[in-house]
Symmetry: C2
Subunit: 325 residues, 2 copies
């Protein structure tokens, strides 16, 4: 792939970083930004959320279906959602990127632009304060995010109580529909067809955007915390699987209304990063939330009162068949 | 590799994590540990350091030269050193691990034990508060570390002033000697020879430990900050290269005494993670520090007064020839 294309191997680490830094979003909480051993960020309130996620070429994205911009956007958005689902406002990210030396510099710059724009749209003021760039056999992103609670208590998965309302803000099932469309129509013998991706963007913009460039309702996280949410998480692995996590952590059952959810794929499709929250009966739901069920005695997840025992979710080892098993 | 060996592909993500969690070090600052969207940690002082590093099979370690335990230890130690070199005390880590599905569970458990023991020895009270486990074509660790400043100002690379003393705490050159020994004697046609590694551990314990299981002087970071250090970093890429970073950031030159450093490989060998700090002339050096040079007018790094223009350090793209270039 070398030759006419300028690669990160040609440029080396320092020069590549110099190209990336101006593209990255800035954090308003930065005391010290990239270039030292650590970033330093301001933390009002004496405690911080901390979350980390890997996004790896193969199981998590396919270059050609996703652009570098999409990959950066999604890596940023999913980590912002994890912070938001604690009730916190995202403030800062650190990003590790590994890629083959033959990777085009423009591809890496596009990843940085994806971070910049996702942060600007989804969590203005949040930015990349540091990172690491290394050599790897495939493109791998490791993102760590933090934020500030600013007067709210962290909302965990463990606080749901019998009689509470289950509500969701954001899409359910769209990201899975987008993935299915991409796999069915834009992968030919495993090879991505960029023209087919472009056609899908035109014909199914909502579902394709939900999969490739998700816009989790970040502000809905803090809004739920302020409204008194008793438990919350973002739906990353599928509604049923994630609701079961709340049920298990809280020692309750959760009953979901299928009609309120809309479609069967909304039960099991992951990656929408909707905010899934439980509220006390008399709480006023914040804008954006709709009721989709309730917290009941028992354990596990029911749909319309019937136990739902399909696993319904994503396991990176059970569900990815990309290597030599 | 499947069959009699239990693999992380056999076990799946959840069961593998259940095996790992009990092995990981605990943080005394944990408000909420693994199992939710974010960990939450206590932060006295309203600001935190944040650093992230990738360690990738191939450029950063070779399985067979390093055990899983070594890999975990080193990933922990190097991130602790980054926090310490700001003057902070490490408190918490989040760890992303990617590995092929065929990876033995015991290997992953050994990585966790390496984290546990490195944290216990190097930074008691610091622990792993969260992470992510995913599927990758090689073993990759993404570690993010934070800490607390507890009354000291962050010590950056930018504060060195003419007339200040350059001092170091910890080893210089040992990790490079260890790497050379391993590559010369324990790699046969690129294949690691565990018996030869065992022999090197017996014959050259200091150098092999410095490379595979480094013990950076974590407490020397805070000690330097308390003693008034004007600039500090840990020597990860080589003394000259890292001293040049201080010189550039501070707008000064740094003159190193070769006799004080000891050996030429101490000038360029990386990965020792010694604390390299500048102190005002009348500061009392903390225990463990020795003077190796001084801050002078000009720019760049001199050795015994002569400009040292070799690059002298490690670039993951320029220096790693493991892929298809």
């Amino acid at each position: 792939m070398s030759g006419s294309v300028e690669t990160i191997g040609d440029l080396g680490e320092g020069a590549t970083l110099a190209r990336i830094f101006p593209l990255l979003p800035e954090s308003s909480r930065t005391i010290l930004g990239p270039g030292d051993d650590c970033a330093v960020i301001d933390v009002p309130g004496n405690r911080v959320p901390l979350t980390t996620d890997l996004m790896i070429e193969g199981p998590d994205f396919i270059i050609g279906l996703s652009t570098g911009y999409d990959i950066g956007w999604k890596a940023c958005a999913t980590n912002l959602a994890d912070v938001a689902s604690m009730g916190a406002t995202p403030t800062a990210l650190v990003v590790g990127l590994a890629a083959p030396a033959t990777t085009a510099v423009t591809f890496v710059e596009d990843i940085a632009r994806g971070f910049r724009d996702a942060a600007a749209v989804l969590a203005p003021g949040c930015g990349v304060v540091g990172g690491d760039l290394s050599h790897g056999p495939v493109v791998m992103l490791a993102v760590t995010a933090t934020g500030e609670f600013d007067g709210v208590e962290p909302v965990t998965r463990a606080g749901a109580q019998i009689g509470h309302t289950l509500a969701v803000s954001g899409q359910l099932g769209a990201a899975k529909r987008g993935l299915d469309l991409l796999f069915e129509r834009a992968l030919v013998d495993g090879v991505p067809d960029p023209a087919a991706v472009a056609e899908l963007w035109a014909s199914h913009p909502v579902d394709i955007a939900a999969q490739l460039r998700p816009e989790p309702p970040i502000a809905s996280g803090r809004a739920a915390a302020l409204a008194g949410a008793s438990a919350m998480m973002d739906v990353s692995d599928g509604l049923v699987l994630d609701a079961r996590r709340i049920a298990t952590a809280s020692g309750v059952a959760i009953d979901i209304d299928l009609a309120a959810v809309g479609s069967p794929e909304a039960l099991t499709g992951g990656e929408d990063h909707a905010m899934l929250a439980c509220f006390p009966p008399r709480a006023t739901l914040p804008a954006g939330y709709r009721v989709i069920g309730r917290v009941t005695p028992g354990e596990g997840v029911l749909v319309d009162g019937v136990p739902f025992d399909h696993r319904g979710g994503w396991d990176p080892f059970a569900d990815y068949a990309g290597d030599n098993q």
